[in-house]
C-alpha cells in the first residue's frame, strides 16, 4: 500500500511561481482532499506529481517516482482532465489501448466500464459523451490497473447528484481497502463528506495539511454561542482571557478565541447567568475561506450595496460569514445594535 510523498515541489511559468516548495504526504487508507482557490496551483501540483510537468522537487509512490514505475497504471491511477480521450476512438478501444501498454488483460476493460456504469456505451464514441460520462470514462481509466493510489483532479465535475454520491461511496470504499486517494475538488460540501485528510494550498504554497477535523475545529470561525442576560459582567471577563464576543441578531453572543469550557468557567467566576452555551463549528467552507482568504489568486470584490441584501448576518450562510466577523482587535465586545457592521449599519 502506497504512501505518496511529495517533497519541495516547485514550478514557475516564466517569472510567475505556480507552485512553491510544496511538501505533503498522503497516507494509505485515507481520502485526502486537495483544496485551494482557483489558480492556487492544484492541477500543476498534480501534473508535477506524475511527471507531466517539468519542475523541481520529487514525488514518490512507495519510494518510487512515477516516471520510473513499470506499468504505472497498475500502481497509480490518474485522472487529470474531464475528457482525456480522442473523440472518435470508442470507449472500449480507448481503455484497451491504455491496458495494452500496462500489461492489463483486456477482460479488465469491460469490468471497469461496468464499474463506472458505462458498459452500454463501450462501443460508442466518447466525442458525444456528456461531461459526466466523460468523467466516468476518465475514472474507469484511472481504475483500470486496480492501482493502490488514485490521483483525481476534480472528478466530481459534471456528475449529477447520483453520480457524486456514487463517486463518494466508491472512493470511500477504495480507501477502506487501504488505498491512497488524493482528490481535488472545489465542491467543499462534497469534500467535507468525502475526505479524512486535507492538503490546502494558496498561491502555490502549503497553507495547512492534516485531518479535516483539526482544520475545521482550529478555524477562527468555530465559535462558542452564549446566551446570557449578564453580558456586562461576562464581556470584560472574557476579553481578559483573550475572548472576543460579538452580539448576534437573536440576542446571543458569538465568542471566539476561547473554548466552550473556558467560557463556562469564566461565567461561573463572575456570577453571570448562562441560558445557553454551545460550540458552533465552522463549516469546511468557512474554514477554507478563512485559511485561503489572503491567498486567493483571483479575488472578486462584492459591490458594497449588494452586501446586505442576502439577509441579516447570522441568519444563515449567505456567502459572508455568519455574524459580523472581525479580525481579533482592540474592541473585544460590542453590545448588539452598536455594531457598526450590524444590520442597517454602514458597510
Amino acid at each position: 500500500m502506497a504512501v505518496i510523498e511529495s517533497v519541495g515541489l516547485s514550478k514557475t511559468y516564466g517569472s510567475k511561481p505556480a507552485v512553491v516548495n510544496l511538501s505533503f504526504r498522503v497516507n494509505p487508507g485515507s481520502v485526502t482532499g486537495f483544496l485551494g482557490p482557483n489558480g492556487a496551483g492544484k492541477s500543476t501540483t498534480m501534473r508535477l506529481m506524475v511527471g507531466l510537468d517539468n519542475g523541481s522537487g520529487t514525488t514518490t509512490f512507495d519510494g518510487m517516482p512515477f516516471r520510473r514505475l513499470t506499468h504505472p497504471m497498475r500502481h497509480v491511477g490518474v485522472q487529470l482532465e474531464a475528457k482525456p480521450f480522442h473523440p472518435t476512438r470508442k470507449a472500449r478501444n480507448h481503455l484497451r489501448m491504455l491496458a495494452g501498454a500496462n500489461g492489463i488483460p483486456d477482460g479488465r476493460v469491460d469490468e471497469v466500464l461496468g464499474l463506472v456504469g458505462l458498459l452500454s456505451e463501450a462501443g460508442h464514441k466518447p466525442g458525444k459523451f456528456s461531461l459526466g460520462m466523460g468523467q466516468r470514462l476518465g475514472i474507469a481509466a484511472a481504475l483500470l490497473g486496480d492501482p493502490h493510489t488514485l490521483i483525481l483532479d476534480e472528478p466530481a465535475n459534471g456528475l449529477d447528484p447520483q453520480g457524486i454520491n456514487w463517486l463518494r461511496n466508491l472512493l470511500k470504499q477504495l480507501a477502506s481497502e487501504g488505498r491512497s486517494i488524493f482528490v481535488s475538488s472545489h465542491l467543499l460540501s462534497e469534500m467535507a463528506l468525502l475526505a479524512d485528510q486535507l492538503v490546502v494550498i494558496g498561491r502555490g504554497q502549503l497553507i495547512t495539511s492534516g485531518p479535516i477535523r483539526d482544520f475545521i475545529t482550529s478555524s477562527a470561525r468555530t465559535s462558542v454561542i452564549v446566551r446570557t442576560p449578564d453580558m456586562s459582567l461576562l464581556g470584560p471577563a472574557l476579553a481578559e482571557r483573550g475572548g472576543h464576543a460579538i452580539g448576534t441578531d437573536d440576542g446571543s453572543f458569538s465568542v471566539t478565541g476561547i473554548g466552550q469550557t473556558e467560557v463556562g468557567d469564566v461565567a461561573h467566576s463572575v456570577g453571570a447567568r448562562i441560558h445557553e452555551l454551545r460550540t458552533r463549528e465552522a463549516t469546511l467552507e468557512e474554514a477554507f475561506l478563512d485559511a485561503t482568504g489572503m491567498a486567493a489568486e483571483f479575488v472578486a470584490h462584492t459591490p458594497p450595496h449588494d452586501a446586505g441584501q442576502f439577509g441579516p448576518p447570522g441568519a444563515g450562510y449567505s456567502g459572508q460569514p455568519p455574524g459580523p466577523w472581525q479580525p481579533p482587535g482592540p474592541a473585544p465586545w460590542q453590545p448588539p445594535g452598536q455594531d457598526p457592521y450590524g444590520p442597517g449599519g454602514a458597510r
Binding site: V50, N54, P72, F85, H86, N93, R96, M97, A101
Partner: protein, 267 residues
C-alpha cells in the same frame, strides 16, 4: 519500449483516420497507375529503358510531371501521430500510461516509419501490377532502373512520412502542422527555389537550391524526361544517394529537435 510500441500500435488501429488515409493512398495509387498504364503509348521513343514503367509506378512523379501524391497522404499519418495527442489532450493520458517519453517518441517514429515503408512498397507493387497488365512486354520489371526508382520512392515516402511527425510535435498544432507538411515540399520549397535561382543563377541553384530537402530527396526517384528551366542555369542535380542523404539529414535533425522538446516540455 514494448509498452510504448503496444500503445502506439493500438492507438494507430483504433481511429478511423488511419484506415481512410491508408485506403485513399492505395486507392489513389491503384487507379492512377491504372489510368496512366492504360493510356500511355508504349512505343513512345522519348522513354528510355525502364522509364515508362517507373512513371506508371510513381504515377508520373519519376518523370517530374507530378508530385508523389501517395507520399503526401502518408505524411498525414506522421502528422496525426502527434497531432491527435495535442489536439485532444491525449498526450497527458499517453504519458500517464507510458511515462517514458523517449520510448513514446521512438515508438511513434518506428510505427510511422514502418507503416510508410510498407505502404510505399505496396504502392510500388500496385503500380507494377498495372504496368505489367497494360504494358505487357514493354513493362521492364526486371530493369535495375525501375528497381532503383522504386527504392528511391520507398525511402522518400518513409522520410516524408517521418517529416510530418516532428513538425506536429514542434508546433503542437495539428492543423498548422498539416498545412506546413503539405505546403513545404510543394509551395514553400518551390517558392524558395525560384527566389534563389532567378537572381543568383547558376550559383543559386547549385550552391543552395538543389540542397532544399525535398528537391534533393526527389532525386532518389526523379529521372526528368525533358530538360527544364534549371538546365539553362547549368543545373547539376545531386546524385540519388546524395539527395537521399540531404533529405535524411534534414528529417533526422527535425526528429532530434522534436524529441528534445518532447522530453523537455510540459505535457
Amino acid at each position: 519500449m514494448t509498452a510504448a510500441l503496444r500503445y502506439e500500435w493500438r492507438r494507430l488501429w483504433s481511429i478511423r483516420s488511419t484506415y481512410w488515409l491508408i485506403g485513399s493512398t492505395l486507392a489513389f495509387q491503384f487507379f492512377m497507375s491504372l489510368i496512366i498504364a492504360a493510356s500511355v503509348d508504349a512505343g513512345d521513343s522519348d522513354f528510355s529503358e525502364g522509364q515508362l514503367t517507373s512513371s506508371v509506378v510513381s504515377v508520373g512523379a519519376s518523370i517530374g510531371s507530378l508530385p508523389l501524391f501517395s507520399a503526401y497522404i502518408i505524411a498525414m499519418l506522421g502528422v496525426f501521430s502527434f497531432g491527435h495527442e495535442y489536439r485532444h489532450g491525449m498526450i497527458r493520458a499517453t504519458l500517464t500510461a507510458v511515462p517514458n517519453r523517449g520510448a513514446v517518441f521512438t515508438a511513434k517514429v518506428l510505427t510511422t516509419g514502418i507503416l510508410a515503408a510498407v505502404l510505399g512498397i505496396v504502392c510500388a507493387l500496385l503500380g507494377l501490377l498495372n504496368a505489367t497488365m497494360f504494358l505487357g512486354d514493354d513493362a521492364d520489371t526486371g530493369s535495375s532502373f525501375v528497381w532503383k526508382v522504386i527504392l528511391g520512392l520507398v525511402v522518400y515516402t518513409v522520410l516524408f512520412g517521418l517529416f510530418g511527425l516532428p513538425v506536429s510535435e514542434i508546433l503542437r498544432n495539428q492543423t498548422g502542422a498539416l498545412a506546413l507538411v503539405l505546403l513545404f515540399p510543394s509551395v514553400i520549397e518551390g517558392a524558395l527555389h525560384l527566389l534563389l535561382v532567378i537572381p543568383e543563377g547558376e550559383d543559386g541553384i547549385n550552391k543552395v537550391a538543389k540542397f532544399l530537402p525535398f528537391d534533393a530527396g526527389g532525386q532518389m526517384f526523379a529521372r526528368p524526361l525533358f530538360a527544364d528551366i534549371d538546365d539553362i542555369f547549368g543545373y547539376v542535380p545531386l546524385e540519388p544517394a546524395e539527395g537521399g542523404l540531404v533529405l535524411g539529414i534534414f528529417t533526422l535533425v527535425l526528429l532530434a529537435l522534436a524529441s528534445t522538446l518532447f522530453v523537455k516540455r510540459d505535457a
